[in-house]
């Protein structure tokens, strides 16, 4: 079990493409958007947050989402197809070990993505927070990414090797865009804002923003995240069992 976690982490660290998209890309996107905008004044409807502060949470959340969602879904679907998952079932490794190792490795990949966005925001765009806020933000975004890790597992067990990339992309872009990770959802038309408020990505970013605003996290956001976590985990477990019986 530990051996598998170690190997899966090694693989994440060795995969350059994955590193670019999950670690560098969110920071680059942050610089691109924050760099061109007026960054001093508070942003409309954000309770006094500056654009860089707002965007920092969005991009850190986006980076973590990328790392855990892509890391799980595509690899699980591919490895189910090429027979590696079957091969593992012929070892003493407990059945859940594979999924847990994948998720742990994805989480290890997510942490640098989060931290790099924070460093870039603090150094380049002068985002200033209390020490506890930085720590709480890191912890909240990192822990919240588990929701999407579970979604990644579910997609990995539901999709075939060919279909997994388009399906992941649609889910990933849909959740990022509609959840307001790329642009504030306050810019959306009213009806879309109502929809967005119930998306897990929206609740996820709201969690981080509450910390920046010295607020307790909103009850609705926490409830939405927990509900999706239960849904995705349950779905992943169900799909995993179905796949195991079929094998």
């Amino acid at each position: 079990m530990n051996g598998l976690i170690r190997l899966e982490i090694l693989r994440v660290l060795r995969n350059r493409k994955f590193q670019f998209f999950s670690v560098l890309y969110p920071s680059l996107l942050f610089l691109l958007i924050a760099g061109t905008a007026d960054s001093t004044g508070p942003l409309d409807g954000t309770d006094g947050l500056t654009l860089p502060a707002y965007l920092m949470v969005s991009m850190a959340s986006f980076g973590a989402l990328t790392a855990v969602l892509m890391g799980n879904s595509e690899r699980i679907a591919k490895e189910r197809e090429n027979g590696w998952v079957r091969q593992l079932r012929l070892t003493p490794l407990p059945g859940r070990g594979y999924v847990l190792a994948k998720t742990a490795a994805a989480a290890v990949g997510a942490l640098p993505a989060i931290v790099l966005v924070f460093v870039v925001a603090a150094v380049v765009k002068d985002v200033r927070l209390d020490a506890w806020q930085w720590l709480a933000l890191t912890a909240a975004i990192w822990a919240g990414s588990l929701v999407f890790a579970a979604l990644g597992v579910a997609i990995g067990y539901a999709a075939t090797g060919d279909a997994v990339r388009p399906i992941t992309m649609i889910v990933y872009f849909g959740l990022s865009l509609l959840g307001g990770l790329w642009m504030p959802s306050t810019t959306f038309p009213g009806w879309l804002q109502d929809v967005a408020a119930w998306l897990p990505t929206h609740a996820y970013a709201a969690l981080g923003r509450a910390i920046e605003q010295h607020h307790a996290p909103g009850v609705q956001d926490v409830t939405v995240l927990l509900a999706f976590f239960v849904l995705f985990t349950g779905g992943a477990a169900w799909l995993y069992r179905k796949d195991t019986l079929k094998a």
Binding site: G3, L7, R14, W84, Q87, R89, L90, T91
Partner: protein, 323 residues
């Protein structure tokens, strides 16, 4: 049936829709046996191995490995298995993968020893997903033999290996069997089954058609091989008109081939009667040979007999017996 038996199938059936992939199969494998599982494509070999390893559950009947369920036996590290298309992990080296497999096993062998036995020492630093077919097979073999197991299961283990690698592979396998392990392998190469297995199981259409030593299976068909050269070497110039049709009319003959060089090969269920009738035609066959069937021919005869139409098994068997 005792708990010391390595594998026990008790009336195991597995259906896919209406098709019975494995049909009421009962068999027992004992410690130290080297057993070949033969059958044309679609005979149920892979399903049988999946059931044995607990990857699939039988619709009825029970599978017992070393006195417990397949999964328990695997968790206890008593089974090492190599699947036909077991994919390998990407982005890790051969050595890392083998070390991982050794780490999972309750009674692991030293990593260097496992690498050496599988002939992987020279490519231990290569990436596991960038190997040739034969090299990948050797990695799968290393994963299956990472620790001290009682049963080793191999599905088409030498596919993709060249002759040298294949020979080395079987030498290693025989070594494993000599140490008291039970080795079960499915194969398309009948000569491998003949040369290596103490015992041969023939599966056809999900049923166990034959179970015995290669010699017993060859004899079980009751068939003999009759071959001779036609006088004068060809059809032309012989005093007696002896063509294929005439040969087919000989008693007890079930198959005839005549090579361009004039060599006749026949399969007969009563070689004495066939040869007697051959002389009765006034022919003086040169280089007459009467012999038992090879395993391959016995296999064809067995599966053909089992198949009422004769066509299904024939196509399957041709694929199953590469030249």
């Amino acid at each position: 049936m005792t708990t010391t038996d390595t594998v026990v199938f008790d009336r195991v059936t597995k259906k896919y829709g209406d098709v019975r992939a494995v049909d009421e199969v009962s068999l027992t494998l004992r410690p130290g046996e080297t057993v070949a599982l033969l059958g044309p494509n679609g005979a149920g070999k892979s399903t049988t191995l999946d059931l044995l390893l607990g990857l699939k559950r039988p619709d009825s009947g029970t599978v017992t490995l070393l006195g417990t369920s397949p999964r328990e036996a695997i968790v206890a590290g008593r089974v090492g298995a190599m699947l036909q298309s077991g994919g390998l992990m990407g982005e890790v080296t051969v050595a890392e993968l083998v070390r991982f497999a050794c780490g999972l096993h309750p009674r692991p062998h030293p990593v260097s020893e496992v690498l050496a036995r599988a002939g992987l020492t020279a490519i231990a630093g290569r990436r596991a997903d960038k190997l040739s077919g034969g090299q990948a097979q050797r990695v799968r073999f290393a994963l299956a033999t990472a620790g001290d197991s009682d049963l080793i299961v191999l599905d088409e283990p030498t596919t993709g290996m060249d002759v040298t690698a294949r020979r080395a592979f079987w030498a290693t396998m025989r070594d494993q069997a000599d140490q008291g392990r039970t080795v079960l392998f499915a194969t398309h190469y009948l000569e491998e089954a003949d040369a290596i297995a103490d015992r041969v199981l023939v599966l056809h259409r999900g049923r166990l058609l034959a179970d015995g030593t290669a010699t017993e299976i060859k004899a079980s068909t009751g068939m003999r091989r009759v071959s001779f050269d036609l006088p004068g070497g060809t059809h032309d110039g012989t005093s007696v008109a002896l063509d294929e049709a005439a040969l087919r009319r000989l008693p007890a003959v079930t198959a005839v081939t005549v090579s361009p060089g004039g060599t006749v090969r026949m399969r007969s269920s009563d070689a004495d009667a066939t040869v007697h009738a051959l002389y009765g035609l006034g022919v003086y066959p040169r280089n007459l040979e009467v012999a038992g069937l090879g395993l391959e021919q016995a296999f064809v005869a067995l599966t053909e007999t089992d198949d009422p139409t004769g066509t299904g098994a024939r196509t399957g068997t041709e694929e199953a017996v590469p030249a």
